[in-house]
Every structure is written in C-alpha cells, then in structure tokens.
C-alpha cells in the first residue's frame, strides 16, 4: 500500500497544463486542439485533489459525478476502477470532459480554487474516459439486464436521447432511437466541430449503445415520417429529445444575401456534411473576412471554423462585453490564440451587399451597458449615432436558437410554454401519459450535461412508469 500524500504535498503541485496544438499550426487543420493528458500528468493532477469530505465539486456537477472517488482511483493508478465510477455516473464522459463548461460547474466550487487553480476535473474526466474508450477489454463487465418486454421510443439522438437510450437499455427495456438526420449525435455531430470534439468519440459512444441492444433508426423525422400518436401506439413510452434546432434570424436588411449563414447551416455543412474535407461534394463559402455575430459556444465554433477554412480575418461581433459572453472560457481563450478578433459592445444593423447579391459588409451599432435585464445581465443599449462598417464577405448569425415546431405542430395535445418548449414536471413527464421530454426542447438552448441529466432522471421516471403500467 502506498503512503497517502499529505494535504501539504498535494497543495504543492501546480495545476497541469493541457498539451495543445500550436495555434499557428492548428488554424490549418481540423484536428483536436486539446491533445489530452498523458498518464503521468493525469495522475499528478489527480494528486492535487484534497478528497474533501463535503465534496462541493459533486454538488457543482449537474449529474453528480462522484468526482473525488474517481479522482482518488486515478491518483492510485487504478484506471479500471476510475472508469467504473465515472461511467456509472456519466454515460458520455469523453464528451463532457471536452465540452462541459467546467469553470461554471464542478471546477467553480472546487476547494482548491479558493487559493489558486481548481483541480482540472474536466481534463481528468476526459483522460479516464479516453482510457476507457481505448481499453474496453479492461473495463468491468456490465451485467446483461433481463429483458422487460417493454418498448420505448426515443426521438432525437442528441445527448439527451443518447443518455436516455443507455439508461433504459441497461434496465432491460427495448429501445428504439429515431433520428431525423442521417447520422446520430445531434449537436455533438452537426454543431460542435471536429477540433473540439472528434466525431470518432460520438461514433464509439453510439456503438456502445448498439452493443447494448439499442435499435437506432436515422432518417426518421417524427411528425413527418411517423407521428407522435403512431409512436404512442407502438411503444409503451416515448421520450422526446429533439433539441432546440430552429435558428433565430437577425431580421435585418441584407440577411438573404449570398454569404450570410445561420450558424446551424454553416456548422452543419462543415461538420455533418464534411465540407471541411476537400474530398467531398459539399460546398461552403470560404470567406476571406468573416464576421460571426454572437458570444456563445456556437459563435466561437463558427468563428474558429471560418479561420480553419482559410479566413484571413475572423471577427466576433457581440453586443455586450466579454464578461457576459456565454461561451466557455477555454473557447474564448483558444479563439484569441487563433487570432480571432473580438469586437465587443457592437450590434449588427444591416448587412451590405454588392451588385451581384454577395455580402460585402456589416454595418454595426456601438452599444453600452445599461440597466440589468430580466436575466440579471446588463442590457446593451445603442450609443446614438455611433456606427461603423466591417468589410466582410461572410456573415454567420450565431445569436441563438429556439424550439423547432416541426414535431410539436403535429402533436396538438402536447402542452407547450409560450416559447414553444415542451412543458414537463421535474421528472420530465409531459401532460400526455407515457410521453416524456428533456434536453433543449424543454430548457431552450442549454448544455450537453443538462440534456444528459434530463435523460438520466427521465429514464428513472420512465422506468417507474413502465413498471406500474401493468
């Protein structure tokens, strides 16, 4: 048995630095920016954890990953045990370790952050998850559940649907996952770029579900190919996790010019339809000067993508300041390293076109921060008379998304709120018996881990519903 390290020894270790692809190099490729820790680095970082009795970090994680426990196993070098703990709490740890906004969740409340840097929980989660993906034979075997004979349909294969599928399959229910697009993963596939989340990770997670017996059917648009009523007839329960995939338009002049994209279109072309590769027929406009409007993860992904597609100048235009940006801090930091320009306190007024209908500029209004709005953030207000023009040939609108009404419009009995999101109780149950919902379709644009959390908690509710249903 190794000697336990003293808190003082632990405190003496500095936070690990994530090995990254050099910015100059990475803007020329779509490979992952973060290269991942090696085992030595991971174990040393794990040793920084004080294994706090009151575990504040666990409370900071929406799915309550047993953080000190998995980190302790990792610090001991017991990777199978670390993986077992992590996988029991989080179905997609290789995804969360990469895309969770750790700084506002688990790491935000880490005790080590009180003085210095918090434990790099996300990096460690990623390390253990990647190890697990690479060493399936060393993982603790999952016991095969006894089939219950119950059938559940899941709509949408984003993080909510994938999590739900795994949870229910492990309970022995027959699961069919319906996806409208030709491939699985939702935003993980079509939105988040390869350089942040390699698609092979989504592939492996999906394969794991298939191995559990989950039946996956792509190209099924529920509301069109099959209706919710048809699903309710054929299945014992239905979970709707169809996301928030409807772009909010800017509604300004020039929005229909050639070279103006919604972030959904821009990223879908590049990611789902592989326009980043040069051996495919999918076209995309390679702008030289690109403006991306917005300050969230989507905006960062779009602007960094434009850089990799060869833009000489890629600009973020955001109407508040950096402090209000909803994007993960790491993305903002990486964007800056990649030479992305940030024009803050500016809002688009009009997109200017040339005589052939192509974008040639973006007219912006200077803003200042006024009184806080309903969300508590200070509301940007225009500074009278202060406008400026950016010379750009591509504009990407990344101001946000809303609930897509395609499914809900064909299910008139399903109760929605005034924004078109599905209303549920705290277990994800809708007003229709046996129909549950979770993820962005309920919350509006939120996060991967919250969508997964919904999948997990609704799975328990569905399981309970199925067991009392004869």
């Amino acid at each position: 048995m190794k000697r336990q390290m003293t808190p003082k020894e632990r405190m003496a270790i500095d936070r690990v630095k994530m090995p990254e692809q050099d910015p100059q190099r990475r803007i020329g490729n779509f490979e992952e920016v973060n290269q991942g820790l090696n085992e030595e680095q991971a174990i040393r970082e794990a040793q920084r954890c004080l294994l706090c009795k009151n575990r504040p970090c666990v409370a900071g994680c929406p799915v309550r990953v047993r953080i000190p426990e998995f980190i302790a196993a990792l610090a001991e070098g017991d990777l199978p045990e670390a993986a077992r703990i992590l996988l029991a709490d989080n179905t997609l740890p290789a995804v969360c370790g990469r895309v969770c906004p750790q700084e506002s969740q688990c790491e935000k409340v880490c005790v080590r952050g009180n003085k210095g840097a918090p434990v790099a929980i996300g990096y460690l989660e990623r390390f253990v998850a990647d190890w697990a993906l690479a060493h399936p034979e060393k993982l603790h075997k999952e016991s095969q559940p006894t089939p219950t004979g119950k059938k559940v349909a899941i709509v949408g294969s984003g993080p909510a649907g994938l999590t739900m599928a795994g949870e229910l399959a492990r309970k022995g229910h027959g699961v069919t996952l319906f996806e409208a697009l030709h491939d699985t993963g939702g935003v993980l596939r079509y939105g988040i770029p390869e350089f942040r989340l390699p698609k092979r990770i989504v592939d492996i997670e999906v394969k794991r579900l298939k191995d559990l017996g989950v039946n996956i059917e792509c190209n099924v648009v529920v509301g069109k190919t099959l209706t919710l009523d048809e699903l309710r007839e054929e299945f014992d329960a239905v979970f709707i996790g169809n996301g928030a995939g409807l772009p909010i338009m800017l509604n300004i002049d020039g929005e229909n010019l050639k070279g103006v994209y919604s972030a959904n279109e821009y990223l879908t072309r590049v990611n789902l339809m592989a326009a980043w590769r040069n051996d495919v027929p999918t076209p995309i406009i390679h702008g030289k000067h690109v403006a991306v409007i917005g300050g969230g993860n989507t905006a960062m992904d779009a602007v960094r993508t434009s850089r990799r597609l060869g833009a000489e100048q890629s600009i973020i235009v955001y109407r508040r300041t950096e402090a209000e940006m909803p994007a993960r801090i790491e993305e903002i930091h990486h964007a800056k390293e990649e030479g992305i320009e940030f024009i803050l306190l500016a809002a688009p007024v009009k997109i200017l076109g040339d005589e052939n209908g192509w974008v040639k500029g973006l007219l912006c209004q200077r803003m200042e921060l006024g009184e806080p709005d309903a969300s508590g953030r200070r509301r940007p207000v225009p500074i009278e008379g202060e406008t400026f023009t950016l010379d750009v040939d591509v504009v990407v609108n990344a101001i946000g998304t809303r609930a897509n009404p395609l499914l809900t419009a064909t299910a008139p009995d399903l109760k929605l709120n005034k924004w078109g999101n599905i209303e549920t109780d705290e277990h994800g149950a809708t007003n229709l018996p046996g129909v549950f919902a979770g993820g962005d379709i309920v919350r509006g644009g939120a996060t991967v881990i919250l969508a997964m959390g919904d999948g997990k908690s609704s799975a328990q509710a569905i399981d309970a519903y199925l067991s009392q249903k004869n």
Partner: protein
C-alpha cells in the same frame, strides 16, 4: 439503406427511380419531398416524391442529373441501394375545388408537377396540362399526365413537338379562351418559367401556385438555408413550402441564392470523368 427497384431513363439524364421506403410511401402526400443523402460525407439533396405506392411500400423519384450528387443518385443500379432518404418533408399541396385548373410544367418540373396534377384531378378538378421543354427528347411524362388530364398541351422551343414556343404562349391562349380559362394555375419548372407564368396571370388575378426549389440542407427547418421571400416575409421553403403564391414570391432572390455555390459546383464538375461531364453540361446548357 433504401433499395432501388427500378431505374429507367426518361429523357437525357432524367431518371425515374422506384425505391423501397415503406414509411415514406405510407405517410406521403402530394407536394411533399424527400432529402436524399447518397454517400458518407455527401450533400443532402431534396427531391420531390413523384408517386408512391403505400401497399408495395415504394416511392417514385424523378431525377435529373445536373451535378455530382444527382449523378451519384441516378447511377445507383437496380438492386443497389441509396444510403439515406428522409421524408416526407414539406407541406402537402392544398387541394381545393378550383373547377378548371391549368398545370404548367417546364423541363424536369413536369415530374414535380405530376403528383400534384394527379391529386388535383383525383379530387374532381378539371386539369389542363401544359408541358414545355427545349425539344422533343426533353418532354417527359406526357402519356402519364394524359391519363387524368382533360388535355395535354406541349410547347417546345424548337417546335420539334407540339407548339413552338414557351408554355406561357400556350397558357395565354387558354386564358384568352373563355371556355378554357383556368381559375387557378400551378406552375413548376425553372425559376424564369415560374416567374413568367406568375407575371402572365397576375393582371388576370388568377391564383397561381409555384413550387420553389432553393438550396436545402436538413429539410426540417433547422438551418434556414432554404429561405425565400414571399410578400414581406422570409419563409423557410422546406417547412413553410415548397408551394407558395407565385404572385408574392421574390423570384430574383431565389435565382440569385440558387447560384451561391456555382464556382464550387463547376469545380466539382471539372473533376468528373469527361463523358459524364459532357452529358451534364449538355443538360445544363
């Protein structure tokens, strides 16, 4: 995977393909389309559902090979299969009792028109069909349309079949004839043709429905790439259409947006084997 059961050539580079897709065949209504994704890493291509047989579980697509992706699709042999087909998408045609209607099809648009005309006829409308094309080989589905039309009138630019001229000349004659004047016109074809028809009927106040073909990606309202301007509003053609009131459509914008990727498309065409390239260029002109 969707099995190809039949693949015939109707006109130069125009194929009729019958494909097994039971769910789509069952759910489909006239006016709707599918999105076909022929290969990994490929484009998503919208194609109208030309016909469907819910019993047999099949759909029929009429496809004109104009570029790399449509070429890939039409080159799928019988017995082979197409990777992904999603649908039915878009709104179904609103079938009303118009009495006398004119259905105007141009080029490949005739195939898109076919299910619509059939549905109009089946619900009791008196359908006069006008089809146009460059020359005789490009006139498609005349017989199939004749099966339910009161009359099928043909116009070719070179006069090799039917009347020489454009579909609008034929339509003008109908409008001028009090016994034949339609109370509604459905026009589907190249954008300039649809625009010309809409301009022709506008002064007469004849309701004119067109089917728009902007560049699409998901076909579910998720990307906004298919936006078109109708009246003062921006619409997503894949969910709000594809059929719209022709008198309100901004055809200029549609045409302009359709040209967005012309450079890339030309480059991709360059990379095709010469014989395929030549065939396509001939159709495209």
């Amino acid at each position: 995977m969707f099995e190809v059961l039949q693949n015939d050539t109707l006109a130069p580079n125009v194929h009729r393909m019958v494909i097994r897709a039971p769910r789509i065949a069952k759910a489909r209504q006239p006016g709707q389309f599918v999105i076909v994704h022929p290969e990994e890493g490929g484009e998503r291509i919208p194609l109208t559902i030309g016909d469907a047989d819910p019993q047999a579980g099949t759909i029929t697509l009429f496809i004109q090979a104009v570029g790399a992706s449509t070429l890939k699709i039409v080159n799928t042999p019988v017995g082979g299969s197409i990777r992904d087909i999603a649908g039915p998408l878009g709104k179904a045609t609103e079938i009303e009792q118009w009495g006398r209607v004119a259905c105007v099809g141009g080029g490949l648009g005739t195939a898109v028109l076919y299910p619509l005309a059939k549905a109009l006829a089946e619900s009791g409308n008196e359908v006069t069909t006008i089809i146009g094309g460059r020359s005789k080989p490009f006139i498609i589905l005349a017989e199939e349309l004749a099966a339910f039309s009161t009359e099928v009138l043909v116009a070719t630019e070179d006069g090799s079949q039917g009347q020489q001229g454009f579909v609008t000349n034929v339509l003008q004659d109908l409008i001028d004839n009090p016994d034949k004047r339609p109370s509604a016109v459905f026009a589907i074809g190249p954008v300039p043709m649809m625009r010309a028809v809409a301009e022709l009927t506008r002064p007469y106040g004849i309701k004119t429905i067109v089917s728009l073909n902007p560049i699409m990606i998901d076909g579910t309202g998720m990307c906004g790439g298919c936006r078109v301007k109708v009246g003062d509003e921006t619409k997503f053609a894949c969910v709000d259409g594809p059929e719209f009131d022709g008198h309100l459509v901004d055809f200029g914008l549609l045409m302009d947006r359709l040209s967005m990727y012309r450079d890339t498309e030309a480059k991709i065409l360059e990379e095709l084997p010469k014989e395929l390239r030549d065939k396509i260029i001939k159709v495209k002109r």
